[in-house]
């Protein structure tokens, strides 16, 4: 907006004195807009660039549809009884038809209804995992990076140990040890998810704490906690949001993986992973049973990853120059 300095001059010179602007409440908005003009134009330019990226927009559409489905599914799902585990052996393993878009499973339940309803629990668990991981990881990473010294050593070596556990294995061991069920699976995945955020925040914190604005805040008498949470962490918000948007899809995938192995969401509660596992026994004849839940999950996760990738391209300071 204010890129051209010449265009600024007439508007400032014709503006009434400060005293007058303050007297009218409506002008507070215009003043706010003016004060934040550069940020606003950044946002506007960002949104424009984002909307020009077709892949990102596809991601947005998929994510919005997914959220809509997760929220409203109980209202319109065609066979609500099938979700809680009713049994209709007379229509067992029917192929896809107009009545049953995705066919029926081995208990005669509508695969479409169960796939749709599984969105809900997957999203809930995904959000919980990320909230726990971000809270724990950001807190530990901030402390480790800010204070350094032995505190850093203890926290970061512990993080290293957690990161050394191969892939899904720790989550698997925890859920196997705690017993099957969605709560334990959520807990297990949360435990394995925080180290990533801890590393991210610690690395940024090490850089940030040397910045002049931190020295300035300290000179003004701000305490350590105030500096960490009010001055430094807001600067890391974009990095955390970008990582979270990329992670959500993976959290959903991992929950399904635990369900597939049999330690995640328990049947008859619908879950993509356990549905794929159950359908596997009826392949190749009843191919729809495993195929559709997997396809649906694939598209959902793809949406989140496309969105996350677009966000990263947009918000990553290293990647802003066109």
């Amino acid at each position: 907006m204010s890129l051209n300095p010449l265009s600024e001059i007439p508007s400032t010179s014709s503006a009434p004195p400060l005293l007058v602007t303050n007297s009218e409440p409506q002008n507070r908005l215009t003043r706010w807009l003016k004060d934040h003009a550069s940020q606003l134009s950044d946002i506007r330019r960002g949104l424009f660039r984002f909307s020009r990226n077709r892949l990102s927009m596809i991601g947005v559409v998929i994510v919005l549809l997914g959220l809509l489905i997760a929220i409203t599914a109980p209202l319109w799902v065609p066979y609500p009884d099938d979700v809680t585990g009713s049994v209709n052996m007379s229509i067992r393993l029917h192929p896809p038809s107009a009545d049953h878009l995705f066919g029926t499973d081995d208990a005669g339940r509508d695969v479409f209804s169960r796939t749709i309803m599984a969105t809900r629990i997957s999203f809930e668990v995904g959000v919980i995992i990320l909230l726990v991981a971000i809270t724990v990881g950001v807190f530990l990473g901030a402390i480790a990076g800010y204070f350094g010294g032995w505190i850093n050593q203890v926290i970061m070596r512990f993080t290293d140990i957690m990161l050394t556990f191969p892939g899904i294995f720790l989550a698997l061991a925890i859920s196997a040890a705690l017993g099957r069920g969605v709560l334990n699976a959520t807990l297990a995945l949360s435990v394995t998810w925080w180290p990533g955020y801890c590393r991210l925040v610690e690395a940024q914190m090490l850089k940030m704490k040397e910045e002049d604005f931190v020295a300035g805040a300290r000179a003004l008498g701000a305490g350590n906690l105030r500096i960490i949470f009010r001055h430094i962490l807001p600067n890391l918000l974009t990095a955390i949001i970008v990582k979270a948007s990329m992670d959500f899809g993976f959290a959903v995938l991992n929950l399904a993986a635990l369900g597939f192995i049999g330690v995640g969401v328990l049947p008859p509660e619908p879950d993509w992973g356990s549905m794929i596992a159950a359908g596997r026994r009826f392949i190749p004849i009843s191919w729809w049973y495993s195929t559709f839940p997997g396809l649906f999950m694939f598209i959902t996760v793809l949406g989140f990853n496309l969105l996350g990738d677009g966000l990263r391209d947009l918000l990553d300071p290293n990647a802003t120059v066109r």
């Binding site: 191969p166 061991a173 196997a176 993986a257 330690v263 997997g294």
Partner: protein
């Protein structure tokens, strides 16, 4: 000299990490509500047999004592026995690990062969259709649930088209080749047994492809970003201004710089894969360490769980260290600080 100090510093950390790993795993596997002894003794076991077995496994001792005994046994080369199959854990780990190693090598190869050109195409034609296509492929590759795509491939390629075997590592009816390295693809070639080599190759294609999706995605993403960063650098501008052909700029100036970060990404990926592709190995019945660990975890068979975690943890730590060293040797700007 700096390298030596760097190595010593990093090597000293390894025991700490392994100690932590062993403590956490021991903790998890000993709060389990299930009873591994009853599992081992079988359903018909009498109470006195169970007591005897509990004593034999040392499970009646206090936990710290059990832990110390476990660790001292480890150092004597005794990694314990699996309760479910009664075999020596260490021997099993080595056998299963070679299968995972083979899978990792092949999938990493596929990942590089596909990922690097994809990244170059993407960066070369940024924001044009080749870029969109390449990004869609790489994002799609990490969005696919691997256990699902493995099942779909099994149906299509194995059961319908009969191009590839359904699952496993080698034809159970054929003579298993004598092993030197444990890597079937290499062993069969060493023995000059070409038909067996192709049999092994047919078995590894499906799991390696599923596994390579992750490699393709991460390599493409990393390399594309680095290439775009470097394309903006002044030395590229200077090179172009001096009339150096575009092809030469890409091969001599860009790739050399851009591949550095990819090396570190690759190291992470190899370490990650050596931890075992639990889901792929489970679905496609690949006898790797992930499958071994999964079976142990589901049966609450604690000595294999402990053994697998420590074994894999050790390998991951070593691979990470090697990556860090190579990374610093290739790019002297980073240094061994």
């Amino acid at each position: 000299m700096k390298l030596a100090r760097f190595l010593v510093k990093r090597l000293l950390l390894i025991p700490i990490i392994l100690l932590g790993l062993s403590l956490i795993t021991f903790g998890i596997s000993h709060v389990i509500p299930g009873d591994p002894v009853k599992l081992a003794a079988g359903p018909q076991a009498r109470p006195d047999q169970i007591i005897k077995l509990t004593q034999e496994y040392g499970l009646d001792r206090p936990l710290p004592e059990q832990y110390v005994r476990y660790i001292s046994n480890l150092f004597q080369g005794n990694w314990g026995y699996s309760i479910s199959n009664k075999r020596d854990v260490f021997h099993d780990l080595v056998t299963y690990f070679t299968a995972t190693l083979e899978l990792t090598l092949v999938s990493t190869l596929i990942g590089l062969v596909v990922g690097i050109p994809l990244a170059i195409i993407s960066a070369r034609w940024r924001d044009r259709w080749p870029d969109h296509a390449a990004r869609f492929v790489s994002i799609g590759a990490v969005s696919v649930p691997v256990f699902w795509i493995a099942i779909i491939l099994q149906i299509v390629l194995a059961q319908n088209l009969h191009w590839l075997p359904v699952s496993g590592r080698f034809d159970p009816r054929a003579n298993y080749p004598t092993t030197h390295t444990g890597l079937l693809l290499i062993d069969t070639l060493l023995a000059g047994n070409i038909p067996a080599f192709f049999t092994a190759l047919r078995y590894i294609i499906m799991p390696a492809f599923c596994q390579s999706l992750l490699v393709i995605a991460l390599i493409t993403r990393q390399l594309r970003g680095d290439l775009l960063d470097i394309l903006r650098k002044d030395f590229v501008l200077v090179a172009r201004a001096n009339g150096i052909p575009e092809r030469r700029i890409w091969t001599r100036y860009l790739m050399k710089n851009a591949l550095i970060a990819t090396i570190s990404q690759l190291g992470f990926l190899i370490g990650f894969q050596l931890g075992g592709a639990v889901l792929i190995e489970y679905v496609l019945d690949w006898p790797g360490i992930g499958q071994y660990a999964l079976k142990a975890a589901l049966l609450l068979d604690f000595q294999p769980i402990m053994g697998a975690t420590l074994f894999v943890g050790f390998i991951v730590v070593i691979v990470n260290l090697m990556t860090d060293v190579v990374y610093r040797l290739v790019d002297p700007r980073i240094g061994f600080a």
